[in-house]
Amino acid sequence: MMSGEFIAFMGIALVAVIGGVLLLNLSNVMHMMVALVFTFVSIAGIYVLLSAEFVAAVQILIYAGAITIIMLFGIMLTRHEDTSEAPGSSWRKFAVFLGVLGFAAVLYFGIYNLDLPQMENTLHEKNTMQIGEALYSKFVIPFELTSVLLLVALIGSIMLAKKDDEKEGDKE
């Protein structure tokens, strides 16, 4: 059973989980973000194992690139020196931890021996072309709707993040 693919999966999965655990346990917010980059990149590796090359490339671009960068901006532009966690909240944290653990156990019971029939697939052949064909034929309506969504996000972010310049407003 110890095929090369399995070893690759274990390695990548380990990096991903370690990145996530570090996110929870580090105290400096910058270090947290760097830890998360490891998770995002290794998730791209998981996609390659799942014959989703295009999604892997997008994962690197969007998550490891764009989202990490704007989150770093978010940290740099706001106050980020104080790293202390709020005191006295450890009971709440413990309760949340138990709840999440219970949720994970319930779900793990459902998936650990999920018996889905294995079928041949052709996902790895011309992967990007298959995605393109699906996007521009079957899913053209949600695709166009996504463009409206991105436009709303763009306008909304500019509106909300723009500096308040009521006094110099008439100069524009």
Binding site: K138, I141, L145, G156
Partner: protein, 506 residues
């Protein structure tokens, strides 16, 4: 797929959506090129005209048989039509509220955006109502959600608005992730995102115990995630803060249009997917939806109790209406739980009644709040002396919200109540919680009435009611009373045109 094939579809059935999209685009361009000093109210009126045009064009499709474009990624069935009417009328009223909303706290600079973001949110909600594919449903849901996030935070110099937007984003993000996690398992077990194919696959697969277990968990995750849109337990905590901090027209939008859209997507997903899966693997077993209905019933009961009891100790009227809207969502969940023959009718009617009574109430809250500069309940003291007609209007709407006979709210509750008994086994516990919590709600609703009629007024200044608000008030009172006295107008409309939603699964 060739281009001719793509053009073969009957794209004209999307006319209402195209109108809304076109008007939103037009407004954004006009806003860009209008001189900075010019009043943006005209943009709001163009938006109102656009929504009215979309409503008319939707009415033109009322006899259209079920039509679907591109593998159900867009479908127009009677369910979609009926609920799109509520979404459109609700947005029309909300936009009228927005026109007469005082532009302060940094809103003046973005008045144009304020109007067309309502339209994009409405567009998302309309796609949620008329799609049979999970991907379109999800994108529509997110378009609605993200537009509402921006709208809640739009008065960006107001600290309360900032905070409520931030809380809305965090709660919304978590709920989106939970919903999607549930949907991903449903996709995995069926291998398709088309709702009709899903129910077909699930019906025939028989399913091992393990798969059914996973499907039930996916059901709960999706339900919990979507309860955020409805503001029902367990995802109701955001509602009071967000309702209080958001500008009043946005609060009205969240409590009417956004809530309606939430019920639409829940009914669409759960009835079609889980309404057909045998719960135990045997072919003749109960559908999973009925098998799990006790849990939905539990959520409905908890929602009604939480909403009505906590509303009792609110002093801020927007917070109070937040809890009351949680409670109303609980009532509608009772209809959804009972899954009787009338469920669709009951949900549709209640949402329509709720639209009228709530939008009118928010119009008055906006008016009084702007005048008094606070949303504290004491601002309503002596309203009857200052503006008798306004006070009586508010009283009618509140009586309807409380469910007093002669009003739309009463008929709506009666329908839900009857529906709870019409099934086998009957839901006695839920029905009694419905009655008991309605009685509790009288206390806080009548608290407002006491303020208005029996307390001395702090000042005697009169109100200037803008035209747009006047339209909303007249429309809502007429709607509330007409539906209360002659509910058959709505039911006949429903039965004549929509045939009991028989084509829901076709």
């Amino acid at each position: 797929m060739e281009l001719e094939q793509l053009l073969d579809f009957k794209w004209s059935i999307m006319t209402p959506e195209f109108i809304i999209l076109g008007v939103a685009t037009l407004l954004s361009i006009l806003d860009l090129f209008m001189p900075k000093s010019m009043d943006r109210k005209i943009l709001g009126w163009i938006g109102v005209a656009g929504i009215a045009a979309a409503t008319v064009s939707l009415a033109g499709f009322i006899d259209e048989p079920v039509t679907s474009i591109l593998f159900d990624t867009f479908r127009l069935d009677s369910f979609a039509k009926a609920f799109k009417f509520i979404l459109l009328i609700g947005s029309l009223f909300v936009l009228l509220l927005a026109i007469s909303f005082e532009k302060k706290d940094g809103l003046a600079e973005f008045a144009g955006e304020f109007y067309y973001l309502f339209l994009t949110a409405l567009l998302g909600a309309m796609f949620m109502a008329s799609s049979g594919d999970l991907i379109t449903l999800f994108i529509g849901l997110e378009l609605l959600t993200i537009s509402s996030w921006v709208l809640v935070g739009v008065t960006k110099r107001n600290k309360k608005s900032n905070e409520s937007a931030m809380k809305y984003v965090i709660n919304g993000g978590i709920s989106t992730a939970i919903t999607l996690f549930g949907l991903s398992y449903i996709y995995g077990l069926t291998g398709t995102t088309n709702i009709k194919d899903m129910s077909g696959t699930l019906m025939t697969m028989g399913g091992s115990q393990n798969q059914l277990y996973l499907l039930a968990i996916a059901f709960f995750m999706t339900l919990v995630g979507l309860s955020f849109k409805l503001a029902t337990a367990p995802f109701h905590m955001w509602a009071p803060d967000v309702y209080e901090g958001a500008p009043t027209p946005v609060t009205a939008f969240l409590s009417i249009v956004s809530k309606t859209a939430g019920f639409v997507i829940i009914v669409r997903i759960f009835v079609s997917i889980f309404g057909s899966v045998p719960a135990t693997g045997a072919q003749d077993a109960l559908p999973m939806l009925l098998h799990l209905q006790d849990y939905i019933g539990f959520l409905a009961g908890a929602t009604m109790i939480i909403g009505n009891v906590i509303a009792l100790r609110q002093r801020n009227i927007k917070r109070m209406f937040a809890y009351s809207s949680i409670a109303h969502a609980g009532y509608i969940l009772v209809a959804f739980t009972s899954m009787s023959y009338f469920t669709f009718d009951a949900i549709w009617f209640y949402l329509l009644a709720y639209l009228f009574m709530n939008v009118g109430a928010f119009a008055i809250i906006q008016l009084v709040g702007a005048k008094a500069g606070s949303d504290d309940i004491s601002a309503y003291a002596g309203l009857y002396r200052r503006a008798p007609i306004l006070a009586v209007t508010f009283a009618v709407l509140i009586l309807s919200l409380a469910g007093i006979p002669g009003t739309a709210g009463f008929i709506g509750k009666l329908n839900i109540f009857m529906g709870a008994f019409a099934t086998e086994p009957a839901h006695y516990v839920l029905a009694s919680i419905l009655i008991a919590t309605s009685v509790v709600s009288y206390f806080y609703y009548f608290g407002i009435m006491t303020q208005m009629f029996f307390r001395p007024a702090a000042d005697d200044s009169k109100f200037n009611i803008p035209v747009a608000l006047l339209v909303v008030l007249i429309g809502s009172v007429v709607g509330t009373i007409a539906l209360g006295i002659l509910p058959n107008i709505a039911f006949d409309f429903l039965h004549d045109n929509f045939m009991q939603f028989k084509d829901f699964l076709q």
